[in-house]
């Protein structure tokens, strides 16, 4: 009960940041740009658009809800109250995922339940991983991740390695795409691919565990 109450106490972050920062504007802009690009493309790919909205939305939400230096400094004082780092991490993750989920539902309103579910799971995995980045290195890492997502997020490792002489850089990028949460992999969620679902679940757990460990260090130094 206490865990749930503490986790839910992180929800005001979403409301306050949506209303008082540029987060709301960025989310609407992301949605509009992605949908516009999809509609003007030669071949429309609503699944790719929803996943991009989910990944980008989750990353932006985490950046505004947890990545700022002041937010990270405020973790310590918040944990001086009877609130566990785990509850705080889960709460902030749920808030960020909630923000991205609204965006996903808006993007997937006409494209079917499968794509919408894929978007929601992608948002959950992306926000857990980004939260781990945010509490490890702040918005510098989150910004770098957003750039990675925009440039390489939709590519598959096979496409990167299709070059006749891939070289070490392409191999490294392909390995990163294989391991890290990637939009290409979560396309499988729409067709109930168990591998993609397991990958997303693993990253949700790993991201939350890393973030929880970082939050715990803010209050009790061993």
């Amino acid at each position: 009960m206490g865990f749930l109450r503490c986790a839910l106490s992180e929800w005001p972050f979403l409301r306050i940041r949506l209303l008082r920062t540029r987060l709301g504007v960025w989310l609407v802009l992301l949605l509009a740009v992605v949908l516009r690009l999809d509609r003007t493309a030669a071949v429309s790919d609503p699944l790719a658009a929803v996943l991009l909205v989910a990944g980008g939305g989750a990353t932006l939400c985490v950046a505004y809800l947890a990545g700022a230096r002041a937010d990270r400094l405020a973790i310590g004082p918040a944990l001086l109250h009877p609130r566990s780092p785990g509850a705080m991490t889960v709460g902030r993750w749920l808030a960020a995922t909630g923000g991205a989920a609204v965006l996903v539902l808006a993007a997937a309103v006409h494209v079917g339940i499968g794509i919408a579910l894929a978007g929601l799971v992608t948002a959950a995995a992306m926000s857990a991983w980004t939260l781990a980045l945010a509490w490890s290195g702040g918005n510098v890492l989150v910004g770098a991740w957003l750039i990675w997502l925009a440039l390489a997020g939709g590519q598959s490792p096979e496409a990167i390695l299709a070059h006749p002489h891939p070289g070490p850089l392409r191999c490294a990028i392909a390995a990163a795409l294989e391991i890290l949460p990637g939009l290409w992999r979560y396309r499988g969620l729409a067709s109930a691919d168990l591998g993609a679902a397991a990958h997303a679940a693993l990253w949700i757990l790993a991201g939350l565990a890393i973030a929880r460990s970082r939050a715990g260090r803010a209050v009790v130094s061993p």
Partner: protein
């Protein structure tokens, strides 16, 4: 009766790595604080005051020894009993004062009880009229009040305050002193640290002096503040101070100890110093704690 705060042989060492010797921030600190006491932790910068407060608040784990809050070994459970206000205010950006307190209070209570806690904390800290202001943009004095308010949430009566008066003007200092006194009247206990304890004479019951991580003085404020000082204003500043005196901006100053003021003034006259005015005053807390630390064994 259980002490509010009990510190037994607490030691905290920070390893530095690369073969360099570890830093002993707090060495074998032992003391107790009872209900209704205000205790001031005095010492120079880097004396170990903040580390000791963090050990008591559960922010740091002791390398050795034990800290108990209301009889319980310090840990996540004791956060319901002790409130801690760090030196530097850090609140979530975008939140108003009321929202910050509501956010913290959600860890203590729900519904009407939470609302009542927030209201009480706002009243206790004097921030009721600033409740709708952004917390991150508060001036330092109000930031400190908000830190005090959050430390009192959940009905916590034991508070550890790290430099609560640093950088505050005299009016705000006095106001904060009054609020802390009201807290202890109702059975609370306060441990505060100060590198500059000027003006805290009326507030504190006991003084702990830390020097290089070691607790060198633990004495009631009344016993430390009993000393008298003779201040002498001279027409011409002396080249060197007579025995037992020290030179000040306006003349001379001497600890009277068991001497009378007349005998000390006679020393000035014997050195042909023209005395314009003189007065006897009580030692201030910073003088008394400094002197006590000087005579304490190293």
């Amino acid at each position: 009766m259980t002490s509010a705060i009990q510190v037994r042989g607490v030691r905290r060492v920070f390893p530095r790595g690369w073969g360099r010797p570890a830093v002993v921030a707090v060495a074998e600190a032992t003391f107790e604080i009872g209900a209704g006491e205000i205790v001031c932790l005095v010492g120079a910068a880097d004396a170990g005051k903040t580390t000791l407060l963090q050990l008591i608040a559960g922010v740091l784990r002791p390398s050795a020894g034990v800290v108990r809050i209301a009889g319980w070994t310090v840990g996540s459970d004791t956060r319901r009993s002790i409130g801690f206000a760090p030196r530097d205010p850090a609140f979530p950006p975008g939140f108003t004062v009321r929202e910050v307190l509501e956010y913290y209070a959600r860890a203590h209570a729900a519904g009407r009880e939470r609302e009542a806690q927030v209201r009480d904390a706002l009243d206790a800290s004097g921030l009721s009229d600033r409740a709708s202001q952004r917390a991150a943009r508060l001036p330092l004095a109000d930031g400190r009040r908000l830190l005090l308010a959050q430390s009192l949430l959940g009905g916590r009566r034991i508070v550890a305050l790290d430099e609560p008066f640093a950088g505050l003007d005299a009016v705000t200092r006095r106001d904060l002193c009054d609020r802390l006194q009201r807290l202890v009247v109702t059975g609370g206990s306060v441990l505060l640290s100060s590198a500059d304890p000027v003006g805290l004479e009326r507030l504190v019951d006991r003084v702990l002096v830390l020097r290089a991580g070691r607790l060198v003085v633990d004495a009631p404020a009344t016993s430390l503040l009993g000393g008298r000082v003779l201040e002498v204003v001279l027409d011409v500043p002396p080249l060197e101070a007579p025995p037992g005196f020290r030179v000040t901006a306006t003349g001379l100053e001497a600890d009277l100890g068991g001497r009378s003021a007349e005998s000390a003034l006679a020393v000035c006259r014997a050195h042909r110093l023209s005395v314009r005015a003189s007065r006897v005053r009580l030692k201030t807390l910073d003088e008394a704690s400094h002197d006590a630390a000087e005579v304490a064994p190293r």
